[in-house]
Structure formats: C-alpha cells, structure tokens
C-alpha cells in the first residue's frame, strides 16, 4: 500500500474531529463527527454502543470516507482532505478492546483518561467498538478551496 501523503498525515494528527461518512441501507450517505486516530498505518475511530447505528451501516457496506475539513479542529490549518477506504468493525471486547488506542486518543482529548477512571458515571459510553479504516484513495485540497480540483492519491486498489 502506498504511504499516506505527508500533508494528510499532519491533518490526521492534528484533527480533533473529522466527518465519518457511511452508507445506510437505502444507499444514502450518513455523516458522523468523530475523533480520528491514526496509528501509522490505518485510521481508527471509536463508537460507543450508545451510538451504534453507524456500526450497523458499516457491517452492511464497508465503504466509508473520512473528511477533515474544520480549520478550528486542526489548529487553524486551512488545507482539507477526504480519505476513502474500507472499514471494519472490531468488537471482540467492547468493554476494553478499544483502550489500546487510548494513548493516541489522550493526545487529542486529555480529559478522556479522567472520564475513563469515572466510567461508573456513564458506563455505556465506555462500551465501544473500533472502526478500522484501510485507506484506499485520498483527495487533498492544499488551500481548502473546492473551486480547485483536489490532488488525488491512490493508496490501495478497491476492495474486491
């Protein structure tokens, strides 16, 4: 697989929020704001079981996209990107399996570790599935302006 373009890596590292779009049963795009976590190879997002409809959609159709568009959420950077890829729901252990991503999550939301220590207050929020996205194609707008065609990078062939 080709590497993720450097500017997109910077956006992934900085972004406090991105827009995950999944495809619902009727074929319509449904978008959810989530914290994107990049482990150096794949993009991960976590979803509480409280808000698990997106997981149902992914199980039905694995094709997703993740956009990073909000300059406020990336510390003022004006460039934007959309990553298309294939998603997989990882839910062997909703109670603690997602915690392997806690170090990356904590960098973006330091308070999460304190909330986790008090998980008794909101137990279902911390029952979570992981969404693992294998990037396939990346569209990048250097100045964030959609009037200019994006730079497109293919990272992998389309899933069979």
């Amino acid at each position: 697989m080709a590497p993720m373009p450097e500017p997109v890596l910077r956006l992934l590292d900085a972004a406090l929020v991105g827009e995950l779009t999944v495809i619902d049963r009727s074929g319509r795009p449904v978008t959810y704001p989530l914290i994107p976590l990049w482990d150096g190879e794949k993009v991960y997002l976590t979803s509480s079981t409280l808000f698990s409809r997106k997981l149902e959609h992914i199980r039905t159709d694995a094709r997703v996209s993740l956009s990073i568009t909000d300059p406020v959420a990336v510390g003022g950077a004006t460039d934007r990107a959309t990553i298309q890829g294939d998603a997989r729901v990882i839910e062997e252990d909703p109670h603690g399996g997602w915690e392997r991503l806690l170090p990356i999550w904590e960098k973006k939301e330091p308070s999460i570790v304190y909330f986790l220590k008090a998980r008794v207050a909101l137990p279902l929020f911390f029952e979570r599935a992981l969404i693992e996205i294998t990037p396939r194609r990346v569209l990048y707008w250097a100045d964030g302006d959609a009037a200019v065609a994006p730079v497109v990078a293919m990272l992998a062939e389309e899933a069979a």
Binding site: R28, T31, D70, T82, P123
Partner: protein, 461 residues
C-alpha cells in the same frame, strides 16, 4: 422513546445556515462516499441550498446527496465542548456550475439543546440492541460490564448510606449519653439499618423498572433517576430482585438477633413497620412514592424509625422524647433530599404515573415547600433545645443554615435544568450529612462535658 434526533428539513436548513461552511457528501462513481467542504447559500424558506460545483468532481443527480455542518470548540489540554452537527439530505440539480440541493430530510444534535447526558440516555435502547445483536451473532450473552467495585457502588447506591448512618449513630449516641451503650448491639444496629437501606435502594430500582418510571426518565443524574443498572443491562431485573431480597433477609436476621439480645416490644414494632414502609416505598400495593407520600415515608423511615429504633436497641425498649425530638430535623432534611431529587425526574415520573410532589405541584409551590420544610427543621431544633429536650450544643446544626439557603437559591434558576440542578442536589445531600454531624458534634460535647464536669447541665430548664 425517540433516540434519533430527526428534525424537519426546514429546521435542518436553518441550522445548516449557521455554519461557516458545509460538507457536501455523495456516493461517487466507485460507490464510496465522497465529501467536499463548500460554502452554500441556504434559503430555508425556499428549502434549498446552493453552492458552486466542486472542481474535478461529478455530483450525482440521481440520488440524494447531503450537506453537513459540524462544530466543535477545542479546549487545549482538556478536550472540547460546544458540539453540534446537522445534516440535510435531498436531491441535487447541477446547472451552470451551481449545485442546488432541495432539502427533504434532516437530523442533527446540538448539546446546547439536548445535553450530552440526556442524548446518551435517550440512546440506551440502541446500546441494548447492539449487545442483543452481538449476543445472537456469537451465540453467547455479551453484556456491558463494570468492575465489581463500581457495579456494587452503582447498583446499591452505596454513598446514600449516610442517610442511614446519621440517624442511627445519633440514636446510639443519645442513648449513650443517657448511660445505655452496648457496642455489639450498636454495630449490629448499624449493619442491620444499612442492609434495610440497601434493600430499599435495590428494590426501588426493581419496582420503578417494573412500573416504567426508570425507563421513562431520560434525565437521570448521579442523585436521581435510580441506579440505571437494569436499564443499562449491567444487572438483570431478576438479579436485582434477588439482591434486594438478600439485603432484607440479612436485615431481618440481624433484627431478630437484636430482638433476642435486647428484646423490646418497641423494637419489634419499629422493625416490622420500618421494613413495611421501606418495601412499600415503591412496591405495590402501597407504593407510597407513587401516591405523593414518598417524603413522609422517607421522613419516618430515616427519621424516627432509624433514630428511635437505634435508641431503643441500646435502652432495651425504654423510650423518651429526646431521640424523637432529635429525629425531627433529621427526618425533615432527609425527606428534602428525596424532594429535591424528584424535581429533575418529574417529567418521566408523570409519564409513568409516579405522582410525586414535584409532579403534583407548581414550581413556585415546590420551592416554597422546600423553604418551609427546611425552615421547620431548624425551628424544630431550636424549640427542642429551648424546651430542654436537646442539649444546647445541638444548636451547632444552625451552622448549616447557609447550605439550606444555597439549595433554596439554587432551585429557581435550575428548576428546568436537571444537570444544573446536580450541584444543588449535591449541596442538599451535604446539608443533611453536615446537619447530622453537627448534631453528633453537639452530643459529643455533651458527652465529654458529662464526663469531665458532671455538674454542668447542657440542657435548658
């Protein structure tokens, strides 16, 4: 209960217009979603959003596309707040390089309108369905979990035991000041009373679930709305019923032991009536709290029954007015814990036919009721001291008046805000605890004075 925050298309467009840019999303020719940030001109009245077609990308006109607005405010070193998002769907037309989307449906969430905790609570059904589906897929039950310690804390509502410890210890101390003290009986009394309280807490969850009150409540807080362990799937209804039964059986055994050790008719009556009131608090056919009698049941149970009960264990049945007088302010303040905690629950309670006082009365009447009852607690204290039933140092409890005023002042601005009311409820719980500790401190002074200066009389008259 609706969990998906669906809104009409016009409202969606109105909300979308407040975002500095929108994310246009469609399914591209490869079948993947594709998103592009655009700046749309939105006309909610016409029901449309228009934006310049993004360069180099083909927008489909055969299927709905969406426009999403999303906002978050980073809080460096902490995380974020001000979360809100909205998505509007509709068919798109592309003419002369302009994309026109006609909004047909929308959804979104704004934590300023629906607080995160309420949004989460409204979504509990989704979590249940998630675990049911996962269990069916694996062929074995998969449930949400909590550590044993957290689960015990949550399911029994252990921190509320202060409501029992205050009157029971006070009853024991009053008896001790009068010269009656048996350590084993005192310890058994404390444990037995705590078990009754735990049985009450757990049975309250069982019967509120069976009668629909806890399911109807979408704004529970750490002080109100029950433990939620059944709703969250952490413990089954059957397990909670068994736990409650266990607590009551153990309490009954301790009660029988105390009767055998310190036999008295008064203790027998208090024990039997106390358990009936405790169970009947939510359990049919009595279900006092559903009839607006919860405060009276709680006042009696955590006031005279606990305090005088603990006293008669020590005195082997001898009664006096002193413990009864001491129990009145304690009873009023503990009833006020329930009373204030019922305020955020009132909509769900009304829906489930749980006609608590905040369900029955207006906001003004409920707040006036708080002021009256809290004031009565202090008046009862002063009168009891003045007529010589309680020692003068018991007036230390007056030091807690500022807390009562703090609660009173906090009710009006937070009456319709369950999460704003949480701090007020916390102060109200603290008020009962500190008032009880102040009474105990007063009695500690009386005990010490009695030991070092037997001639000094700390009672008026």
């Amino acid at each position: 209960m609706r969990s998906t925050p669906e809104i009409d298309a016009r409202t969606g467009l109105e909300k979308l217009a407040t975002y500095p840019y929108q994310v246009a999303t469609w399914i591209d020719e490869t079948g993947y979603p594709l998103s592009v940030a655009v700046e749309a001109r939105i006309d909610p009245v016409a029901g449309t959003a228009r934006f310049v077609a993004p360069a180099g990308l083909a927008i489909p006109t055969a299927n709905d596309i969406s426009l999403t607005g999303s906002h978050i405010r980073p809080q460096p070193g902490y995380g974020y707040d001000e979360r809100r998002h909205v998505t509007v769907w509709g068919p798109a037309l592309v003419e002369d390089g302009i994309v026109a989307v006609r909004g047909t449906s929308a959804w979104g969430w704004d934590e300023a309108e629906v607080p995160f905790f309420e949004y989460s609570e409204r979504s509990v059904g989704k979590s249940r369905r998630y675990f049911d589906a996962l269990s069916a897929e694996r062929g074995t039950p998969v449930k949400p979990r909590l550590s044993f310690g957290f689960l015990t804390l949550r399911s029994t509502r252990l921190p509320f035991l202060t409501a029992t410890l205050v009157p029971v210890v006070l009853g024991i101390v009053i008896a001790a000041r009068q010269g009656s003290f048996d350590l084993v009986a005192a310890l058994l009394t404390i444990v037995g009373a705590c078990l009754v309280h735990l049985g009450l807490n757990v049975s309250n969850d069982v019967f509120d679930t069976l009668q629909g009150a806890d399911d109807a409540n979408v704004t529970p807080t750490q002080f109100s709305g029950g433990s939620r362990v059944i709703q969250y799937g952490l413990v089954s209804l059957r397990q909670m019923a068994a736990l409650s039964t266990l607590f009551y059986v153990l309490a009954g055994l301790i009660g029988l032991g105390l009767l055998a050790m310190r036999g008295s008719t008064a203790l027998l009556v208090i024990g039997i009536v106390g358990i009936i009131v405790s169970l009947g608090y939510t359990a049919p056919p009595l279900k006092f709290v559903y009839r607006g009698l919860g405060e009276i049941a709680v006042a009696l149970g955590f006031g005279p029954f606990m305090l005088v009960g603990a006293y008669v264990v020590q005195t082997r049945g001898a009664l006096s007015w002193e413990p009864f007088a001491a129990s009145i302010p304690v009873a009023l303040l503990v009833a006020l814990i329930l009373y204030v905690n019922e305020i955020p629950d009132r909509r769900g309670d009304a829906h489930a036919g749980k006609r608590t006082l905040p369900v029955r009365f207006s906001r003004g009447a409920v707040i006036a009721g708080y002021n009256l009852a809290a004031g009565a607690a202090y008046v009862a204290l002063v009168v009891a001291v003045v007529v010589g039933l309680l020692p003068v140092p018991a007036l230390l409890m007056l030091l807690t008046i500022p807390l009562a005023l703090q609660v009173s002042r906090g009710l009006e601005p937070n009456y319709d805000n369950p999460y704003g009311l949480m701090a007020v409820m916390g102060v109200n719980v603290k008020l009962h605890l500190l008032a009880g500790l102040a009474l105990l401190a007063g009695y500690a002074v009386a005990l010490v004075a009695g030991a070092v200066a037997p001639g000094v009389d700390l009672f008026i008259g």
